[in-house]
Symmetry: C2
């Protein structure tokens, strides 16, 4: 039994797990819908149940061995009242994922059980060795995909064609994309979440590529910004600032670990106190550097954990309360965006392991002019 | 203003729209995350607001003209309390989508407004002409994709390779897939939602293909089951039963409309009374036929609406309360599944328009032996 769940179960009869990513984490079965409720896990001190319907039960039975499979339907669990599994198991105190369960589902449930919020958003924050290996594999494929895709940049090619080629390349390597690639040409690159469209590449445009690979349910995420032509000084200054902001943030993390290994005082290196590395302090390093160079405040957070979700804990943002520890993997992705001109973002993943922080994507980060 | 929303607003100060598909429907902007909360719409009697963050505001401003864009962040709307947009607009009675909003979000909101459930799951049930045209285009591409993909079925090809080729074909036509294609070889076909894997095609196997195309945000959905080799009688009986069940269900719908055009009494044609066509009666026709032929009860419902979501209202199931009317588009997809042997499913879309029910996918439905 997972120790985090075990701890919650000291005060509860059972936990109802509804979030798709936690279901994948605990069962390894990845095929439930992202938008419809097709599965719940019900975890008691003595037994674990997976509740789904007959469209899935045969497949799930083959894959998921440590859960008893119930195929009467996820919705039935909430509405069956006295005849439901919850009643049969005499569950009166039930932990629920309030950030995932809908108000409608909750209204049904509370008619026959008492619920208590159980926050499992950090359940996956510390990765095991096998999980880290999967993300490393995804990053290696990401590096190969980047090498491949920059050769496809020719005048007239559309953002969408580049996105499709990336996806096909990744599929042919036996992996999936972890999200629809963001491919932005020219001034489209000032939109951080631009959707690849019909814009065609012209000489002297910025090309921003942000994409990820999924291997065995685990995601990578990387961004590179290149210049298709001879880069003007305005772009070069943006690029150097973003790269330096990223480097400073990564070195800040690394210095925390190297100094802690040498037993040095960290007071001169770190804003954090109490020998802890706060995610928000990493964000500050990069953000303040960008502002100091005369650019506007960054319009998104510096980074995010990756894993089964492409965005998960820890959150590397000003408001984050997360502390960095061994087993965490997260992106460092500063960006500068100037509407009407374009944007620059550079994103790599960092893993903290064996008291060291290391980059796990290795694509060239120096300025590329094509 | 949409008449359904207008009607709700008679008794409310505003409606908070959170479901991604309704956001796409009302704004046409499709690029918000499926798994994270990145946008709300707030609709009052006099004005409409789109609340998102700075990663999206530039892109949204270009596309969405009938909403005032607020870029302070979706989460901020729920937590800002007295300084929030809701307070500024003096909203005290707020309609919410309880089937979409999470318990956590609701807890924040109810601290400063009164909420009332507003069910907008049927907001998109009746399609406009333009929407129908998009789905028709998606179906045409689906037919072309089917024609293409059956030529790729060769011994040794994997389910996953077929899924990738389908996706690439659809992408190269300028469209998207509407969901990850379900490609199942041999006995995998008895799992209705099988995920394409590494199984390789061998002679004398069932091949079940279930896939969809997305054009301008609108989905198609079709399934075909073919036999790779000379089909044994067991398969042929399953196939003929499924096809006949589908035909009977479609003819039932068509006869409802043709008789209503001729002003005939429908009592002899229809289980429904009051000149209404109930979705559940369509399900019964196909389901009962399959059972009568000696097969087990169908393990899923007969069909579902398609549109911005690949599964939406109307629901063609035994429990459905939906009534069919002009402007609806839905799948009719009976299936028979025998674990250890395989499954057969045939799925096409039906549109009801101008007092007629017509098929909008046209791929061969007769038995195919390759």
């Amino acid at each position: 039994m997972n120790p985090i769940l075990n701890n919650f179960l000291k005060k509860l009869d059972a936990i109802l797990i509804s979030s798709r990513s936690n279901i994948i984490y605990l069962t390894t079965y990845p095929n439930f819908s992202e938008t419809e409720r097709e599965c719940f896990l019900l975890i008691t001190r003595s037994k674990q149940y997976l509740i789904t319907d007959k469209r899935y039960s045969e497949a799930v039975t083959q894959v998921v061995k440590n859960f008893e499979i119930k195929d009467s339907g996820a919705n039935k669990l909430l509405t069956a009242g006295r005849s439901s599994l919850l009643k049969n198991l005499r569950i009166t105190n039930l932990g629920i994922e309030e950030y995932d369960l809908t108000v409608s589902e909750y209204s049904k449930l509370k008619k026959f059980v008492k619920t208590k919020s159980v926050d499992l958003r950090n359940l996956r924050i510390v990765k095991q060795k096998k999980e880290i290996e999967n993300i490393q594999k995804a990053c290696r494929l990401g590096d190969l995909a980047f090498e491949f895709i920059i050769k496809q940049l020719n005048p007239g090619v559309s953002e969408r064609e580049i996105a499709d080629k990336l996806e096909t390349f990744i599929n042919l390597k036996g992996a999936d994309i972890s999200f629809k690639p963001i491919i932005a040409f020219g001034k489209n690159s000032s939109i951080p979440h631009h959707m690849a469209g019909n814009s065609k590449l012209r000489k002297n445009q910025i090309v921003l590529l942000d994409f990820g690979v999924k291997v065995n349910n685990y995601c990578s995420d990387m961004s590179r910004t290149i210049f298709f032509g001879k880069a003007p000084n305005k772009f070069k200054k943006m690029y150097r600032t973003v790269l330096e902001a990223q480097t400073k943030a990564i070195e800040f993390i690394q210095s925390f670990y190297s100094s802690s290994e040498r037993g040095e005082s960290r007071s001169k290196l770190s804003i954090s106190s109490n020998s802890q590395l706060f995610a928000r302090d990493i964000d500050k390093i990069a953000r303040n550097y960008i502002i100091k160079q005369g650019f506007s405040n960054m319009i998104h957070s510096l980074g995010h954990g990756v894993g089964i979700e492409v965005h998960e804990a820890p959150h590397i943002s000003l408001k984050s309360k997360d502390k960095i520890s061994s087993g965490m993997i997260f992106s460092i992705e500063p960006g500068i965006y100037i509407p009407g001109f374009g944007g620059v973002r550079i994103e790599d993943l960092v893993v903290v392991q064996d008291n060291k922080a290391q980059l796990i994507s290795h694509s060239n980060r120096e300025i590329i002019e094509l």
